[in-house]
């Protein structure tokens, strides 16, 4: 099964750190398949690594590319893309 990828724009006002980074890495870990995330054309990091995700320094409006490989890759990317485009800091 070939790996699939998707590029999305970040919706969270705080970019991809703090709470959004936690929610994202947790969801990537829960997916149980290898998923990477890269900022623009940068090198991909393990999406389940909160430290790797935070260190990308992704801000609101940046584009990131997700790549997933394995069973349920499509659904996993749907969930993650949804997380990335919503603003999680809104309720805080």
């Amino acid at each position: 099964m070939p790996s699939i990828s998707r590029t999305v724009r970040i919706g969270s006002a705080h970019g991809l750190h703090a709470r959004p980074a936690k929610l994202f890495a947790q969801a990537a870990k829960d997916a149980g398949i290898p998923i990477t995330v890269a900022k623009d054309s940068g090198s991909p990091v393990n999406a389940a690594s909160i430290l790797g995700v935070i260190a990308l320094g992704v801000e609101q409006g940046d584009y990131v590319t997700l790549v997933a490989d394995g069973d349920g890759a499509e659904a996993a990317l749907d969930t993650l893309a949804e997380l990335l485009t919503t603003d999680h800091d809104a309720e805080a």
Binding site: A18, S49, G52, G57
Partner: protein, 557 residues
């Protein structure tokens, strides 16, 4: 014979008015870094030790998160994930494979991530402290030592620390904390915010407190900003009496805000969400002095509909029948960017297209908001006032006032946050119905110091005489035009500064509801004449610290 009083007094910045006494417990110092001696165990044995340690630390952080709840839970759960991070585990594994000890591998792997975050600066740099805390916990576990951090001496204590991180404050058993003393950090530090929120007696930035010994008894006097060491029996008794008098004052029946001569000073609440209304009323808020409407907008990629807005405003206004509710129209930009209002990248967003400027550029959003507000006003019995943020010119004030009145808003005013509008307040108040001074932004613009930038945080002090002079301009303009001048922002929550603000001409004060009791009690101790004398003393000072001291001296004379 005890030493002379002055050498026993450690000065800092007091938060609130309280006084407390008790034995010192110090926040433990960080563990010394492990050495890089080769391990005596196999790499597999070390790996098993590390796995057990990170799992134990992660579980403990999660458990403390569940206990703490709220925003602290997110911080702690994120830390738990950092402990078990797969990239970190790879880095640790590489080092263990080279024959290093678990302690050193953990230390060094965390440090490599920490350096990455620090190099990125700003918000990410601050997260480096969260990572340090996790590393310390894992290393302490590997060594069989208690985790560094908040002490638990088993009895109530005065906590002495450098400054408290959010994760520390989440772990603090507040019932055991008699008072907080920090050696670093100012009035806007995490410690100060916690102290205000939970009404804990605190003195922050008391540099000399580094010398306090574990277990020694001190008096922490937030009103005076002083920590007294080796207190005499008489000093202890006086502090005890003051503490009980204050406890009585705080639990005293809630009265409307007023000075000792009966001059009314309505005390209002700052709210960011209609859900906070009931708590504010319970704490004696006589209305709302600043209702921030951003919460309605931050969650969406598009502006909310008129119907959604009307529903939220109606809920708010219904909680304050017959009372004043000041709503600020959308204040976007700078620290709270909204994509649909302004998605242009700005080098200097605090000086960019924000506040009323951004609304004017997307006037449909402003018009919809005014429509929803007027409809909610018609459906409820509250006295609705509406104001515009970041007004810099008389022309902007006229524009907003006219537009709001077109939509049937009965009382339309402006926020004074930019020095230009403070200086021209007499002109602005000849058109607008009221002014409300936002002291945080007014301070940032007067001192040209970004309030989000830690390196210039020391400038962000509303006691600065330059800020006070601008407030006096607005107060005078209010008097000559017979228009109300309110204060919203941190400044009104500082009880002594609240007296100064009234002396400068403020006619109402709006603050976080938890600050109401202290401000109410302090206002009752001074007449309007006193307040003017205290304000004059502060105005004559050279800087913020001496303005505060001068006001303290004038208030106790």
């Amino acid at each position: 014979m005890t030493e002379p009083t002055t050498t026993r007094q450690l000065r800092g910045v007091g938060i609130g008015l309280g006084v407390a006494q008790g034995p010192v417990a110090r926040m433990s110092e960080p563990l010394p870094p492990p050495g890089d001696a080769p391990s005596e165990l196999t790499a597999d044995e070390e790996s098993a030790r590390v796995k057990e340690a990170v799992a134990a630390v992660a579980r403990e952080l999660e458990q403390r998160g569940t206990q703490a709840g709220g925003a602290a839970q997110d911080v702690l759960e994120a830390q738990a994930m950092m402990a078990e991070d797969p990239s970190l585990a790879d880095e640790i594994g590489t080092r263990l494979a080279q024959g290093r000890t678990g302690e050193w591998a953990v230390f060094d792997a965390f440090a490599s991530f920490r350096d990455q975050l620090t190099a990125m600066g700003g918000y990410l740099g601050e997260r480096a402290a969260d990572l340090d805390d996790v590393a310390q916990r894992v290393i302490a576990h590997l060594r069989g030592l208690p985790a560094p951090g908040v002490p638990d001496p088993g009895h109530p204590f005065v906590l002495v620390a450098k400054d408290l991180a959010p994760a520390d404050t989440a772990l603090l058993d507040l019932d055991k904390v008699l008072a907080l003393v920090t050696t670093e950090g100012g009035p806007t530090s995490h410690t100060a915010i916690l102290a205000r929120e939970k009404s804990i007696v605190a003195v922050v930035g008391a540099v000399a407190a580094t010398g306090l010994r574990e277990g020694e008894t001190v008096i922490v006097d937030a009103a005076a900003g002083v920590v007294t060491t080796d207190p005499t029996a008489e000093e202890l008794e006086r502090a005890e009496n003051r503490a009980s008098a204050r406890a009585a004052a705080v639990s005293a029946p809630i009265t409307d805000g007023a000075l000792s001569d009966g001059t009314p000073v309505p005390l209002l609440a700052n709210l960011g969400n209609p859900d906070g209304a009931a708590d504010a009323v319970a704490l004696g808020a006589e209305g709302v002095g600043l209702f921030r409407t951003e919460f309605l907008f931050l969650s969406s990629a598009q502006a909310p509909t008129v119907e959604q807005q009307r529903e939220a405003y109606t809920k708010l206004l219904a909680a304050f029948p017959g009372k004043k509710v000041v709503v600020r129209v959308l204040d976007a930009g700078a620290d709270k960017p909204l994509a649909f209002l302004n998605d242009a990248h700005e080098e200097n967003p605090a000086l960019g297209l924000r506040g009323i400027r951004a609304l004017r550029a997307s006037e449909d959003i402003l018009r919809e908001q005014l429509t929803a507000l007027a409809e909610a006003d018609a459906a409820t019995a509250a006295d609705l006032w509406v104001m515009a943020p970041m007004v810099a010119t008389v022309e902007e004030a006229v524009y907003f006032t006219d537009l709001a009145r077109d939509y049937g808003v009965k009382t339309a005013g402006v926020m004074v946050e930019v020095p230009s509008s403070a200086l021209l307040a007499d002109r602005i108040l000849s058109y607008s119905d009221f002014a409300s001074i936002g002291t945080n932004d007014l301070t940032q613009y007067t001192l040209a110091a970004d309030r989000l930038l830690g390196s210039v945080a020391s400038f962000q002090d509303p006691w600065h005489p330059a800020v006070l002079r601008l407030i006096r301009e607005v107060g005078d303009a209010g008097r000559t035009n017979a228009k109300p001048v309110g204060i919203c922002g941190e400044a009104a929550a500082d009880p002594l500064l609240a007296v100064v603000l009234v002396g400068l001409g403020a006619t109402s004060l709006s603050m976080a509801p938890t600050a109401l009791a202290d401000v109410r009690a302090t206002l009752l101790q001074h007449s309007l004449d006193d307040a003017r004398v205290i304000a004059e003393a502060a105005l004559a000072a050279d800087d913020a610290a001496s303005a505060r001291t001068a006001a303290q001296d004038a208030a106790t004379r």
